[in-house]
Amino acid sequence: MSVIEPATVQAPTLLEARGISKHFGGIVALTEISLGVSQGEAMALVGPNGAGKTTLFNCLLGLLRPDTGSVLFRGERIDRLPTFRRGRLGIGRTFQRLELFTGMTPRQHMLVTERVHRGDGRLWKDLLGMGRPRPEERAKVAEVLDLVGLADVADVPVEALSLGHGRLVELGRALSGEPCVLMLDEPSSGLDDAETRLLVDVLNRVRSERGTAIVLVEHDLAMVAKVVDRLVVLDLGRLIADGPVEQTLAEPAVRSAYLGLS
C-alpha cells in the first residue's frame, strides 16, 4: 500500500498548499507539505504535539511566511496577499490559543465580523449615526449565536466566559464571515461532552447546508471520525499519510508515529 493515497477529488480544489516548508531557527516545523481541500470536503489534520499543524494554518493564512512553496486559492497563487485579504476570500479560522476580542461580547464579535464580511461600513456613515447594527444584521447574528449555543451568554464580555464558551465564540465568529473554507485549530479542547456534541452537529450542518469545506485539527479521534471522511497525518513536519479515515488509521507509519504516542 502506498503511503500517500490521494483522495478521490471531484469538486474543485479551494485552498491548496504546494511544497510548503518552514523552519524556526534550528527547528524544522514543516517540510515540503502539499495538501489541498476541495469544496464541501471535510478533512482532519492530526499529528502529535509539535507536528506543525498550527504552523501550517498560519502559513496558509499568511500569518507566517513559508520559507518555500506557495499557497493557492481556487487555483490562483495568494502568497503575496496579506492575511485580511485571505480572510475576505472566504477562509475562516479559529485559534488554538484563543484570540478573542477582549472587552467585547460574543454578540459584538459576530456583529463586527458580519459587518466586515458585507463590507459596507464607512466612516462617514458612522459620523451620520448610520453605523449602528441594523435589525436584519441583529437577526442574522442571533441565528449564529443560537447555532453555536451562545444565546444565553451573548451579552457577557468574553473575558468572563469559560474556555469552552471561548472556543464557541471563535467558531461563531468564523461562521459569521460565511467562509467557504473553515479551518479549526483544536476546537473541542476545553469543551464538555454536550458542547462537543453540539460542535459536531454544527460542523455537519454547516457542511451540508452551506457546502463549507472543513479542515479540522483535532486530537480527539472519536470526534474527528464523526465529522470528516479524510484524514491527513503530520509528524515532525512531514506529511506521512493522507486518505479515508479508516484506511489511514490502519497504516503502520501512522500507528507508530501517532497512535503509539498518544
Binding site: G92, E99, V112, T113, R122, K125, G131, E159
Partner: protein, 672 residues
C-alpha cells in the same frame, strides 16, 4: 581624522552612560516585560542624593554607597515587588502606564524632598572631571572620560562574570536570551524578575552619578532625555543582545558629539538634531528592520491560567439605578455649567474652560488608546500642530481662529498619517516608542522654527469672532469650548457605536483575529491616528486661542506622557472619562498653585502615583469609583424591593433573581 577624534572623545562619557542605562533597560524588559521608561528618573534620584550627601559634607565613597549601591537597587526591588511583578502577563498599556507615572512622579518627589533651588556644579564620583590626566596619541583625556570608562568596564565586567558563574546569573542570562526556552526549563521567573530590577536600577543609579558632572546643573530633564538614547541603544541590540546594546550605547554617544562637531553651530538644526539623533536612530530601526518589531513580546505560557481580567465594559444594571445615575450625571453637568457662568470667579471660569479644552485633547487619547488600543506618546505634538497652524494662519492671512481650528485639525490629521503610515506594522510598546521619537524630533527640530512654533517667543493665537459675536470674553469662550467639546465628544461617540468603532475595538482585542476576519489592521491603525490627531489638533488650536499665546513649551514631549497618564488614570475607555480627566487636570493644578512653590509639581506626583493604580483598575479610578457606588446603589434597591415584596407577589427586578423582569440597561455612567 584628528578632527574626528577630537570631536569623538567627549562622546565617551555619554556613550558609557547610555550603554549602562540601555543594558538595564534590556534586562528588565526581557525579565519582566516592562519597558521601564522611569530609569532616567531613577538616575536623577540617585544623582540628587549623591549631590545632597556630598554637599552635606559626607565623604564621597559614603555618598556613593548610599545613593548608588543602596538606594538604586532598593528602588528597583520595591518597584518590582509592589508593582511590576503583577504586570508580567498584562497588556502593553498596563505595563507602560505605571512606568510613565513613575517617570513623571519621581523627579517631582525628588524636588519636593530636596528643594527646588538650583543644584549647581554636581560633584564627580572620582577624579577631577575637567582635568587633563594624560594624552592619548596626542589627544587630551580628561577625568570624566577616564571615570566613566573605568566604571562602565568594571560594572559590565562584573555582569559578565555574574552571568558566567552564578546560578542566578545563568538563569537570568537564559531569560534575557530566550524567554521561550526559560519557560520550558521552568525557571522561576519571579525571582529572576526581581533580580533584574535590582541590577538594572543599580545601573541606572550609577549612570545618574556618572552623568551629573557633565552638566553645570542637576536638572531632571537631562536625565529623562538620557533614557531616549538608552532606548535607541537597546534597539540597536534588538532589545535582546547585551553586547550589541553596549556597543550601540557607546556608538551613539560618540556619534552625537561627532555630529555636533561637524554641523554648523548655533543653528536650530545643530542644537536640535543632537538630542534628536538617538530617536531618529530608534525610529528608523523600529520601522525599517523587521526583526526589531517587538511583535513577539514577552508572553507567558501561563497567561491563560490566570484569572480573567475584570471586564471593562459595564454590567447590565437595574433600570432604576441607571436612570438615577443618568439624572445625577445631568445634574452635576448642569450645576457645573451653571456655576461656571454665574458665581465662580473669572480665574475659576478660566480654569474650567481650560478643563473643557483639555477634555477635547484628551478625547484624542480616548479614541486612539481607549477604543483602539494603540499607544501614542505624541498627542501633545498633534495638539501643537493644530495650535501653531491656527496661529500662523491668523497672523499671516488674518484667518479667523474658527477656520484655523478646522485647518489645524486637518493638518494635524495629515501629520498623524505621516507618523502612523511608516509605523503601521508596529503595535504595542514599539508604536509608543516611535511616536515618542517623533514627538522629540518635532520638539527639537521643527517647532523652534519661526514658521512653526517660533521658539521661545511663541505665537499669538487671537480669540475668534463669528460675525457680530466675539469670543473674547471668558463666558463667551466657555460656550465655544463647550460647543467644540460637544462636537468632538459626539463624533467620538458616533464612531464608537458605528462600524469603525467596532473594528477599532476588534483591533484592540486581537490584531491577529481582526486580520483573520478581514479587517485591514494596518490601514485601520493609520485611520485611528488620523482621527485622533485631528481631534488633538482642534483641541490644540482651541487651547492656543484660550491662552492667546502659545510656544513649543506648551506642547513639549513630556506633556504627551503626562496626558496619557492623566487620561489612563481617570478613565481612558469613555467620553465622560476624557471630560473628567480634563477637569481634574486643570482644577487640581489651580488648587496646587495656591500652595507654596515647593509643591509646584505636586500634580505630577498625584497623577504619577495614581497611575500606579492602573495595574489594578485599567478602566480608570473614576470609572471604578462610579462602579462601586452604583453596585452599592443596586444592592440597596434589590434589598428594598426584597423587603417590600416579601409579603406580596414576587415581581422583583433583582438581577440574581431567577425570574427577574427588570429591564436591563447598559450602565450609563460608564457609557459615553
Amino acid at each position: 581624522m584628528s578632527q574626528l577624534v577630537t570631536y569623538a572623545l567627549p562622546g565617551i562619557p555619554y556613550g558609557c552612560v547610555f550603554a549602562l542605562m540601555a543594558v538595564g533597560l534590556v534586562l528588565t524588559y526581557k525579565a519582566s516585560g516592562v519597558f521601564n521608561l522611569a530609569f532616567g528618573a531613577q538616575a536623577y534620584l540617585s544623582a540628587m542624593v549623591f549631590y545632597v550627601a556630598v554637599h552635606a559634607g559626607w565623604p564621597k565613597w559614603a555618598a556613593f554607597v548610599v545613593a548608588v549601591v543602596v538606594l538604586g537597587p532598593l528602588v528597583g526591588l520595591v518597584l518590582d515587588r509592589l508593582l511590576f511583578r503583577f504586570t508580567r502577563t498584562a497588556p502593553p498599556l498596563v505595563r507602560l502606564v505605571p512606568a510613565l507615572g513613575l517617570l513623571i512622579a519621581i523627579p517631582s518627589i525628588t524636588q519636593m524632598i530636596f528643594g527646588i533651588e538650583p543644584k549647581l556644579g554636581p560633584p564627580a564620583v572620582f577624579l577631577n572631571p575637567n582635568m587633563i590626566y594624560f594624552r592619548f596619541a596626542g589627544f587630551p583625556v580628561d577625568g570624566n572620560e577616564i571615570a566613566t570608562t573605568v566604571a562602565t568596564v568594571v560594572v559590565v565586567g562584573g555582569l559578565a562574570l555574574l552571568f558566567r558563574s552564578s546560578g542566578l546569573g545563568l538563569r537570568m542570562r537564559a531569560v534575557v536570551e530566550s524567554p521561550r526556552m526559560t519557560e520550558l526549563a521552568g525557571i522561576d521567573a519571579d525571582r529572576v524578575g526581581a533580580f533584574a530590577w535590582i541590577l538594572s536600577s543599580f545601573f541606572a543609579g550609577l549612570a545618574g552619578v556618572l552623568l551629573a558632572p557633565l552638566y553645570a546643573q542637576l536638572s531632571a530633564s537631562n536625565f529623562t532625555d538620557l533614557l531616549v538614547a538608552a532606548i535607541a541603544a537597546a534597539a540597536i541590540g534588538g532589545f535582546s543582545s547585551l553586547s550589541l546594546t553596549l556597543a550601540g550605547g557607546i556608538g551613539l554617544g560618540l556619534a552625537q558629539e561627532i555630529l555636533s562637531g561637524y554641523l554648523p553651530s548655533g543653528t536650530i538644526l545643530s542644537s536640535g538634531l543632537r538630542p534628536a539623533l538617538p530617536f531618529i536612530v530608534l525610529a528608523v530601526l523600529l520601522v525599517v528592520v523587521p526583526r526589531f518589531r517587538l511583535g513577539g513580546e514577552v508572553s507567558d505560557p501561563l497567561a491563560a491560567c490566570d484569572p480573567p481580567a475584570p471586564s471593562l465594559d459595564p454590567p447590565p444594571r437595574i433600570a432604576v439605578v441607571s436612570r438615577g445615575a443618568r439624572i445625577f450625571a445631568i445634574a452635576v453637568a448642569g450645576a457645573l455649567v451653571g456655576s461656571a457662568l454665574s458665581w465662580v470667579s473669572g480665574n475659576w471660569l478660566f480654569t474650567i474652560t481650560q478643563g473643557l479644552v483639555f477634555a477635547v485633547i484628551f478625547l484624542s487619547i480616548t479614541l486612539l488608546t481607549g477604543m483602539s488600543g494603540q499607544i501614542s506618546l505624541c498627542q501633545a505634538t498633534f495638539a501643537g500642530v493644530g495650535a501653531f497652524a491656527a496661529g500662523q494662519l491668523a497672523s499671516h492671512f488674518g484667518m479667523s481662529v474658527l477656520g484655523g481650528m478646522v485647518i489645524g485639525g486637518l493638518l494635524a490629521s495629515a501629520v498623524g498619517i505621516l507618523v502612523a503610515y511608516p509605523a503601521r506594522r508596529l503595535g504595542g510598546i514599539a508604536l509608543g516608542l516611535v511616536t515618542l521619537a517623533f514627538a522629540l524630533l518635532m520638539d527639537n527640530v521643527i517647532f523652534p522654527y519661526s514658521w512653526a512654533g517660533n521658539g521661545a517667543s511663541g505665537l499669538v493665537v487671537p480669540r475668534p469672532r463669528l460675525g457680530p459675536i466675539s469670543f473674547g470674553g471668558g463666558g463667551a469662550f466657555f460656550w465655544l469650548a463647550l460647543f467644540v467639546l460637544g462636537v468632538a465628544g459626539g463624533a467620538v461617540w458616533l464612531i464608537r457605536s458605528g462600524t469603525t468603532g467596532q473594528e477599532l475595538a476588534a483591533m484592540r482585542g486581537s490584531e491577529v483575529a481582526a486580520a483573520t476576519i478581514g479587517i485591514d489592521v494596518r490601514r485601520l491603525r493609520v485611520v485611528a491616528f488620523a482621527l485622533s490627531a485631528a481631534i488633538a489638533g482642534v483641541g490644540g488650536a482651541l487651547y492656543g486661542s484660550l491662552q492667546q499665546t502659545v510656544s513649543p513649551n506648551d506642547f513639549a514631549y513630556e506633556l504627551s506622557l503626562v496626558f496619557v497618564v492623566v487620561v489612563a488614570t481617570v478613565g481612558v475607555r469613555t467620553v465622560s472619562g476624557a471630560i473628567e480627566a480634563g477637569l481634574a487636570f486643570t482644577v487640581l493644578q489651580q488648587i496646587i498653585t495656591s500652595l507654596p512653590t515647593r509643591y509646584g509639581s505636586l500634580l505630577a506626583v498625584v497623577f504619577g502615583l495614581a497611575a500606579l493604580s492602573y495595574v489594578r483598575h485599567p478602566e480608570g479610578v473614576v470609572a471604578y469609583g462610579k462602579r462601586v457606588v452604583l453596585d452599592m446603589a443596586e444592592k440597596l434597591v434589590v434589598a428594598l424591593e426584597r423587603g417590600g415584596s416579601s409579603h406580596g407577589s414576587a415581581t422583583g427586578s433583582g438581577r440574581d433573581d431567577g425570574t427577574a423582569t427588570g429591564t436591563m440597561e447598559p450602565d450609563l455612567a460608564v457609557g459615553p
